[in-house]
Amino acid sequence: MPVTDNSAGKTGAATGRTRASHRLALLTADNASVPLPASVQAITAILLAVLLIALPWLGLGYRFLSIAITTLYTAIGLYGLGLQFGQAGIMSVGHAALMGVGAYASAILSVQLGLGFWTSLPFAMALSAIVGGVIGLPTLRVGGQHYIIITFCFCALFVIVLTNGGTFTGSATGLDVGSVTPLPGINFDKLSNNYYLVLAALFLALAATYLIGISRYGRTLRAIRENEQLARSVGINVDLHKLGVLMVSGLFAGLAGVLQLYYLRHISPTLFGAFPSLYLALMVMLGGARYLYGPLIGAVIVNFLPEVLNLDPVDSRIAYGICLLLVILLLPGGVGAGIKNVYCALTGGSGTQTQGGGSNGRA
């Protein structure tokens, strides 16, 4: 239907809406492509960094710090998933398996060749990236839910291979490794030092995600997410970039997997199966894959929710299910979108800019 180039009709419709539904729309809108002012971004980053660095000194206890480490290495894996899903639009529900590739590669290098954390890390990350690209080959032919099923199959297959790998993979029992090779003056057997190691990696993942997001590469990925055919017609090599982003995602997953391995010191196939993979998908959707802090928020919610509400594993699964439903219904952009919208509403600016610039959102 032809629509005239005239915003008068739109404004009329907007005033017709009830105030409540307008507020709800403000909260639920997806505003990932509207940047916040640089000062706000900088203050958020500094506050978050200070909080995360100060965490071990807040006296919250051994258990809290353990969960924090789990949260952070999970978040590193999620930043890869956030990149492929949030930026390029390729979802995976087998991402834990990709972390498992990194973890097992590092563990096998340690058991078979005696390589330590630092030397095995690049190999493990590279292998995860390559496997990520290979699992990505079907994306050249199928997309959306079809590809999701393929990632799920990979995940199931990976667990079967690990469980039947004999002494090489440690079968169902898994593999053990020593502790992280100490750096001069830093012994990673101490929990807080292990926390800082994982935190440093998280900062790297955050910085990489931020830089990709504002770069030409990030825009290329978003173009592919938004309209593959148009992306091709402006000269973007869509196939290459799809495989590329899955390999970059694999790098993050490999890093997360190795950190997980050296924190737990023992890995087994069940850590990288269907449930952990689904949790990763849940976390990235809860937090908001398109937002810089979305994956971190998702990891914090899912890892700390059972602790805060004192839930057993079965109850926590029910809680996660409810959270996911709430997010899908109320916050399609994730909690990250909600926080950004609330901030924009409080400061009087409009989070979502529709036609006509900022004035529309203030009505």
């Binding site: 005239t4 492509s33 000269g235 979502t352």
Partner: protein, 242 residues
């Protein structure tokens, strides 16, 4: 030698012959119009030339190079760019980002635009740079489609029904923008059904019917051709001579 040379181009979808040996020469210093009834193969011609669909037979030469079936993104990088009938954009991104994406691709090897902003100015979208593309009214979306294609710094632009869905004043404004392109070294080849606009805008018309070219020449001549009149108005039933 013309910039774009299409030789014996064929496209079959199963048993349906969409293009049946098309020959076409298009230069980059003028506006060429492609007309024909629905289903005559106009859009298919664009799709095959720009690599969206593979050709069944024949060749497409662009600046002397064979570009048949080399892939849509490679053809775009050679500055042969097209728009789509359905007014496409990257809907979740801002207008500015839409154009910037194309501009960054076109900048490889030297583009013609200093910044994405100059393209927005050219098509008259500058005030909407921060708007989300998916929220644009249809007329602006058409302009955005053109801006994105221009961003790639094309030497020849294939426009698939740029006026479809626009009202008269919008279509006229759009035609005015298109008319500015050939003097800047951007050749235009467009498909449209608005015969008045096409007659005004085009230096040459090509008429397709059932996947073959049935007429080609200056608009006035082509539109007077009895074969073309038959295709558009049906077989001549001894129309009153008045």
């Amino acid at each position: 030698m013309a910039a774009l040379e299409v030789r014996g181009l064929r496209k079959q979808f199963g048993g349906v012959v969409a293009l049946n040996g098309i020959d076409l020469d298009i230069d980059t210093d003028r506006v060429v119009g492609i007309v024909g009834p629905n289903g005559s193969g106009k859009t298919t011609l664009f799709n095959v030339v720009t690599g969206v669909h593979p050709a069944t037979g024949g060749t497409v030469l662009w600046q002397g190079q064979d570009i048949t079936n080399i892939g849509a993104h490679r053809i775009a990088r050679k500055r042969l760019v097209r728009t789509f009938q359905q007014a496409m954009s990257f809907p979740g991104l801002t207008v500015g980002e839409n154009v910037r994406i194309a501009w960054e691709q076109g900048r490889r090897g030297g583009g013609r635009w200093a910044s994405p902003g100059t393209i927005l100015d050219f098509v008259g979208l500058a005030p909407l740079g921060r708007a989300i593309a998916g929220s644009l009214p249809f007329g602006s979306l058409r302009r955005l489609g053109l801006a994105v294609a221009l961003g790639v710094s094309p030497e020849l632009l294939l426009l698939d029904e740029p006026g479809a869905g626009l009202n008269d004043s919008e279509a006229q404004a759009f035609a005015a923008v298109i008319a500015q392109l050939p003097p800047q070294g951007i050749g235009v080849c467009l498909i449209d059904h608005d015969m008045d606009m096409m007659a005004d805008l085009c230096d040459r018309l090509v008429v397709l019917d059932f996947g073959t070219k049935i007429a080609e020449g200056p608009p006035a001549e082509v539109l007077a051709d009895p074969k073309v009149r038959e295709v558009y108005l049906g077989p001549d039933k001894k129309a009153p001579a008045s």
